[in-house]
């Protein structure tokens, strides 16, 4: 066995990289590769004999009766060729000869010798492959589809072989028949038998000529193909061309069934050339060129008649000796075979050894001259004819059989054409056909074909180089030198000795590569196993006379690895286990550590390593940090994956529900994040760490409503997925604190004063059992049954009061401090309500100023929710400038209004207003003062039906008017100017005020007389802009769409309706922003 080097050398094209496979885990590729690397553990070496025979029986009667004798029993070898008397033998009928052989008596000495040099046969051969041609007469159409011929031959062969031999394949194509039988041991290891016929005869496809090929798989390791053919006959050039065409047709048209690997079919069928060992035999019909047929006949007849018999004795024993080698194994071979459970019949070889034991070591004195060197020998005559052989010429000119095919030495007479019934009488009929080696057995290995392909590649390469040289004009310069180095040692050597492979034109095939005759040649099979083949015998059975062709036979010794299924299954299981172990142990692994939080942020104590953010207020911002460390042995990549959306049930939706908007994860440093397949992925080398900052803040109003309503909670599980590894769950929790934000006026007015705000009130309700304990944390509505304690939400009162106070303070500061920082930004329309205060979550990056502002907002909200401190402004950091305080408070005020679940003027109220004042719009504020006052009265009358809302509304509008008058004040003249303008002009309302402006601004520079006294046009414009902006900011916060219940109604509105409705809202808010007294 070639155990140790098997793994390394058997993978020429694809080296086994088991390490690589391990990291990828068990795939079918890695499994089969790893399995192959251990093949020595489950394959066992086998050595079998393969006997290939071919015979053109020329549809002669009685040929089937001869079959057993030569093909199975190995009889009929002509070891005494020179002694033959063609006439004597010819006179003997086939039957007589057979009878004499069977008796072994008539011509005792000669017949006895024949028996002793019998070719290996019977049970010594593992695989019999027989190719017959012309089993039916080719001109007989009636017999075309006759299958009786096939049965006849099958029966003849089966009768001859040991009874337990099994039929592998039997296929007839017209006169062609391919039969294959295997010994039971071998038959059990044969799979994937596929036999294909290709006709190339009449019309290019009829079966009178063509080939039958059979592919088998031996021992799951070795592909073999046997092709029996009958190529076009005839001697002239056209016939020769046709033979080449026949060959290429068979080559290209033969398509075997796809290989079945234990139930799994290959995608494509195999063709000729895919096999590890190919055998091509039959009546190839190649003739001898350039010699008159009569000359050949005469030359050979001299031998067959014994007229050249000058060295009878020596030649005879020489041939006998050769045959002795043929049928025996050498000592070496036997030793090799003993350590394998061989399928050969060892006993028969031993026997043969005993019989011919002495021929192993011939006495040096008896050493015989090489018959090739003896000009009088048959072999010398054969050698002189072979250069005229069309087949070798065809191969050399690469017209056919040039793709690595080779043949054993020809040491026998031409197989064609004899007079039927004679041993050595060449065609004596009128046609006097020239004798030729029509019947041949060629073979090739995978290696031969590969070499051929390589040679073609090399030639193309060399040609390219040549042309390249030519182009550069180097070839001429080299001309002189080439004469000096024209000597080719290979050619020189080849011309002197008889090459093993007479068609071996391959210059690359030198030294150790080229197998000497009798040596086993190693071939790596397609499956990666190392097999060996050796041609032992190549000869004809000259004494078989029932056809005009002599049967030809080749005996091979094949060494191959055969899979032992049980062993393979065991190794397979082991390999799979090993791959699994490596894969599972080699999985990436990370450790997730949650950094400690503040005192109130107790981590979950259930061992989950989850995060508890503690109490959370509206607009609170809290963050915690996770450290993710690669504690595995291999690089790990991880990402946070979205959880499945079970409500939607969308199949195969990998991304699932979006992560909650109150949680954000930021990888620090952000440069570690790579986008892979749409996921933010982090790659960590072993030992590397990265931080993930998780921040939590509730900023969205819808979420606020859900939390207050108890239909949502601050709970989630982050899923940190390590690619090819574990999913880590990180539970996140926070405790939502009840908030006055996101409620209704109706709820808020029931909060008793001095009870700790809404939070204290809800706690009291819970303690009292009024609010269900089972409600989600922090979520609970204030029941309508609770007493009303205030006429308007206390929070609203506090906010408006604070804004008014701060506005006054700011104006005072501005005039006193005369500092730039204390200047009120009057040019910012809608200030302070429109002041931008970004939040952390929306800003993306952490910013100290933003964080501080958000903390301040949160502090104000908490002060409102807890009624502590009672003066909400005390909740702000003491050093904060008044301007900032005002901006923050105004922002909280706007948020408060927006968060109200049904505004100040709820849907039903606003519907009434819309009905009463359908033309209400921002332009309404520019109407004559009296009209505006009428509209206001109408609105207030409607609101009066809802006193709490009414009072809240008045609080707000009074505050707004107050702030407006402080921030963007108008002089009484300016108010009058606006009104006056309105009175004078009856045109479209929206242009009236602007009309004043236009007049004043255009005249301002040139003629002071044109301007109205005490009216600053810029001032007017600023005021109008301010009102417009605040109107936009607060309209939808104060008013809610009518026509139904809150939001639902709004959804039902068309865009156009909504727009119109919002116009009215702005108008409503704006007309209350200017007091007629102009203050």
């Amino acid at each position: 066995m070639t155990a140790s080097d098997g793994a390394s050398t058997s993978q020429q094209s694809e080296p086994v990289d088991v390490e690589q496979d391990l990291s990828n885990g068990a795939t079918h590729y890695s499994l089969s590769r790893a399995l192959l690397a251990r093949k020595d553990e489950y394959v066992r070496r086998h050595r079998i004999r393969v006997k290939v025979g071919s015979w053109n029986v020329a549809a002669c009667p009685g040929t089937d009766k001869d079959l057993a004798g030569w093909f199975v029993d190995g009889k009929g070898l002509d070891n005494t060729m020179t002694k033959l008397d063609a006439h004597d033998q010819g006179a003997k009928s086939t039957e007589e000869q057979e009878a004499s052989e069977a008796q072994g008596s008539t011509d005792s000495s000669q017949e006895g010798e024949d028996d002793s040099i019998r070719l290996v046969g019977g049970a010594e051969v593992g695989l019999y492959v027989l190719g017959l041609q012309e089993i039916i007469a080719l001109n007989s159409i009636s017999q075309y589809a006759d299958s009786s011929a096939m049965s006849k031959w099958q029966a003849a062969l089966e009768a001859a072989m040991p009874p337990y031999y099994k039929l592998v394949t039997s296929q007839q194509l017209s006169g062609l028949l391919l039969l294959m039988y295997a010994s039971p041991e071998v038959a059990d290891t044969i799979s994937n038998v596929s036999t294909v016929s290709v006709g190339t005869g009449l019309l290019g496809y009829m079966g009178n000529k063509g080939g039958v090929s059979c592919r088998i798989m031996l021992g799951e390791t070795t592909r073999m193909v046997f092709t029996n053919c009958h190529l076009a006959s005839g001697h002239d050039q056209a016939n020769l061309e046709r033979r080449c065409w026949d060959y290429s047709r068979i080559m290209t048209q033969t398509q075997f069934a796809p290989l079945n690997h234990g139930g799994v079919l290959d995608d494509e069928g195999e063709k000729l050339g895919d096999e590890d060992f190919g055998f091509w035999f039959g009546d190839l019909n190649y003739r001898l060129d350039g010699l008159p047929g009569d000359d050949i006949r005469r030359l050979l007849m001299l031998h067959t008649r014994g007229e050249y018999d000058l060295s009878k004795q020596s030649t005879k024993s020489k041939l006998g000796g050769e045959d002795g080698v043929i049928v025996m194994q050498t000592e070496n071979d036997r030793r090799n075979s003993t350590d394998t459970p061989s399928m050969m019949r060892e006993t028969s070889f031993d026997q043969l050894d005993d019989d011919d034991g002495t021929t192993d070591l011939p006495d040096p004195d008896d050493f015989l001259p090489d018959p090739h060197d003896d000009p009088a020998s048959v072999q010398a005559t054969i050698d002189s004819l072979l250069p005229h052989d069309q087949l070798s010429r065809t191969i050399n000119s690469r017209k056919a059989f040039h793709e690595g095919w080779r043949e054993g030495d020809i040491t026998f007479l031409p197989s064609y054409k004899y007079d039927v019934g004679t041993v050595g009488l060449f065609d004596s009929s009128e046609k006097r056909r020239a004798p030729s080696w029509c019947d041949r057995i060629l073979y090739r290995t995978r290696k031969d074909l590969e070499k051929h392909h390589q040679k073609l590649l090399d030639e193309v390469e060399a040609k390219k180089k040549d042309e390249d040289m030519k182009e550069r004009g180097i070839d001429h310069a080299a001309d002189d030198e080439s004469v000096l180095f024209d000597y080719d040692p290979d050619k020189d050597a080849a011309s002197g000795s008889s090459s093993t492979n007479i068609y071996d034109y391959d210059e690359y095939d030198e030294g150790d590569d080229a197998p000497e005759n009798g040596e086993t040649e190693t071939v790596v099979t397609k499956e990666g196993y190392k097999d060996g083949i050796k041609l032992d015998v190549y000869t004809t059975h000259q004494r078989v006379t029932s056809s005009d062709h002599k049967p030809i036979v080749a005996l091979f010794t094949l060494d191959y690895d055969a899979v032992v299924p049980d062993l393979k299954a065991r190794v397979h299981a082991e390999v799979a286990k090993e791959l699994d172990r490596a894969e599972n142990e080699g999985r990436p692994g990370v450790t997730v550590v949650v950094e400690k939080g503040a005192a109130d942020e107790k981590d979950l104590t259930d061992g989950s390593g989850g995060i508890h953010f503690g109490d959370i207020n509206f607009l609170d911002y809290k963050e915690r940090s996770l450290t993710v460390a690669n504690t595995g042995r291999v690089p790990a990549s991880f990402c946070f994956v979205a959880k499945p959306d079970i409500s939607g049930g969308a199949e195969g939706d990998r991304h699932g529900a979006a992560p909650p908007d109150w949680l954000h994860i930021d990888i620090q440093p952000p440069s570690m994040v790579k986008m892979i397949n749409g996921e933010k992925t982090v790659n960590l080398e072993p030992g590397e760490t990265v931080s993930a900052v998780i921040d939590l803040s509730v900023t969205e109003l819808y979420h606020l409503h859900q939390l207050n309503g108890g239909i949502a909670s601050l709970e989630d599980v982050l899923v940190l997925r390590v690619e090819n590894g574990k999913d880590h769950f990180i539970p996140i929790r926070a405790n939502w604190l009840p908030s006055s934000f996101g409620r209704s006026v109706d709820e808020l007015i029931r909060i008793p004063p001095r009870s700790g705000g809404i939070r204290g009130f809800i706690k009291k309700l819970r303690d009292g059992g009024t609010v269900s304990e089972t409600a989600q944390q922090g979520g609970s509505r204030i029941p309508q049954s609770a007493d009303v304690h205030t006429s308007s939400p206390h929070e609203l009162y506090k906010l408006t009061e604070a804004i008014e106070t701060l506005t006054e303070r700011c104006v005072a500061d501005e005039s006193i401090l005369e500092e730039e920082s204390a200047k009120i930004p009057r040019d910012t329309a809608g200030w302070p309500f429109a002041a931008e205060i970004p939040l952390l979550t929306s800003s993306g990056e952490y910013d100290d100023q933003i964080a501080e502002d958000q903390r301040s907002l949160s502090a104000l909200i908490q002060a409102l929710d807890t009624d502590t401190p009672t003066q909400i402004l005390d909740a702000l950091p003491p050093g904060l400038p008044a301007l900032k305080r005002l901006e923050l408070t105004a922002h909280v005020f706007v948020l408060f209004l927006r968060s109200l679940s049904d505004g100040i003027i709820n849907g039903p109220l606003f519907s009434q207003i819309e009905a009463a004042l359908p033309f209400l719009s921002p332009a309404t504020s520019a109407k004559p003062g009296k009209d505006v006052e009428d509209d206001k009265t109408t609105i207030l009358d409607i609101l009066a039906t809802a006193p709490y809302n009414n009072i809240s509304f008045v609080f707000i509008t009074a505050m707004l008017a107050r702030v407006a008058s402080e921030v963007v004040p108008l002089t009484p003249e300016e108010v009058a100017a606006l009104d006056a303008d309105n009175v004078r002009s009856k045109r479209g309302s929206s242009v009236r005020a602007l009309g004043v402006l236009r007049r004043t601004t255009s005249s301002a520079g040139r003629s002071p007389s044109g301007s109205i006294e005490g009216v600053d046009a810029r001032n007017l414009q600023r005021r109008l802009d301010w009102e417009k902006k605040v109107g936009e900011l607060l309209a939808t916060a104060i008013c809610r769409h009518g026509g139904g219940e809150g939001g639902a109604a709004a959804i039902n509105l068309s865009d156009k309706q909504r727009k119109a409705s919002e116009e009215r809202m702005r108008g409503l808010v704006q007309i209350f922003m200017r007091r007629r007294d102009g203050v």
């Binding site: 885990g25 068990a26 795939t27 079918h28 590729y29 499994l31 089969s32 399995l35 192959l36 799951e220 690997h261 234990g262 139930g263 799994v264 079919l265 290959d266 995608d267 499956e527 299924p565 049980d566 393979k568 299954a569 397979h572 299981a573 799979a576 286990k577 791959l579 699994d580 172990r581 894969e583 599972n584 999985r587 061992g607 989950s608 390593g609 994956v641 959880k643 499945p644 079970i646 049930g649 195969g652 699932g656 599980v717 899923v719 090819n724 590894g725 574990k726 999913d727 880590h728 769950f729 539970p731």
Partner: protein
């Protein structure tokens, strides 16, 4: 032999190769992770921490000389709070092993609810096996049994499940056998 072999049948050099996704579900502390440990490493660990997350492992087994099946096993967290994450793991699974503890009657109820969810939400061809774990406890002390095998088996038959009682500790009725049957049915 049919070449239909689960979702990821592939051709090997000499074999049929199929991949199956298998998910373990069941109440907390019934022994899902122990079963996986027995399946994959043939080991038992008396003190295992509760699984927080989902462990991913593979196991390749040969059914016969030519057929190889690779299981991608997701061992999930059993705690109630992670229940909503389970679809991530049973989605596209070819087989599910729903585990209960034969000494805890409530764990079978939980298993039944998992089966119901799987039959409603998972791949319609999913093969579900019901595995009663901790057989070793009952072997030692028969009075510890809270779920009669016959009851569970009757339920399994009714719901069309494979049924086994097993012990991850003693490797009795290893889940390997269940997996074998799973893939046999699939193939």
């Amino acid at each position: 032999m049919s070449t239909r072999g689960g979702p990821a049948a592939a051709r090997g050099m000499n074999a049929r190769f199929a991949q199956f996704k298998l998910v373990l579900l069941g109440e907390s502390a019934v022994g899902k992770s122990s079963i996986v440990l027995r399946f994959v490493k043939d080991q038992f660990d008396s003190y295992r921490e509760s699984t927080i997350g989902a462990a991913f492992l593979t196991q390749t087994i040969s059914l016969d000389e030519n057929t190889t099946v690779k299981f991608e096993i997701w061992d999930t967290a059993g705690q109630e709070r992670y229940k909503s994450l389970a679809p991530m793991y049973y989605r596209n699974a070819n087989c599910a092993v729903v585990v209960y503890d034969i000494t805890q009657a409530a764990s079978l109820d939980k298993a039944k609810s998992w089966v119901k969810e799987l039959q409603r939400q998972a791949n319609e061809n999913i093969i579900i096996a019901l595995a009663g774990n901790k057989l070793d406890l009952v072997t030692e002390q028969p009075d510890k049994r809270a779920v009669p095998a016959a009851d569970a088996e009757a339920y399994a038959n009714e719901a069309g499940l494979l049924f086994f009682e097993t012990s991850a500790k003693t490797a009795e009725n290893s889940v390997l056998d269940i997996a074998d049957q799973d893939s046999d049915q699939e193939a």
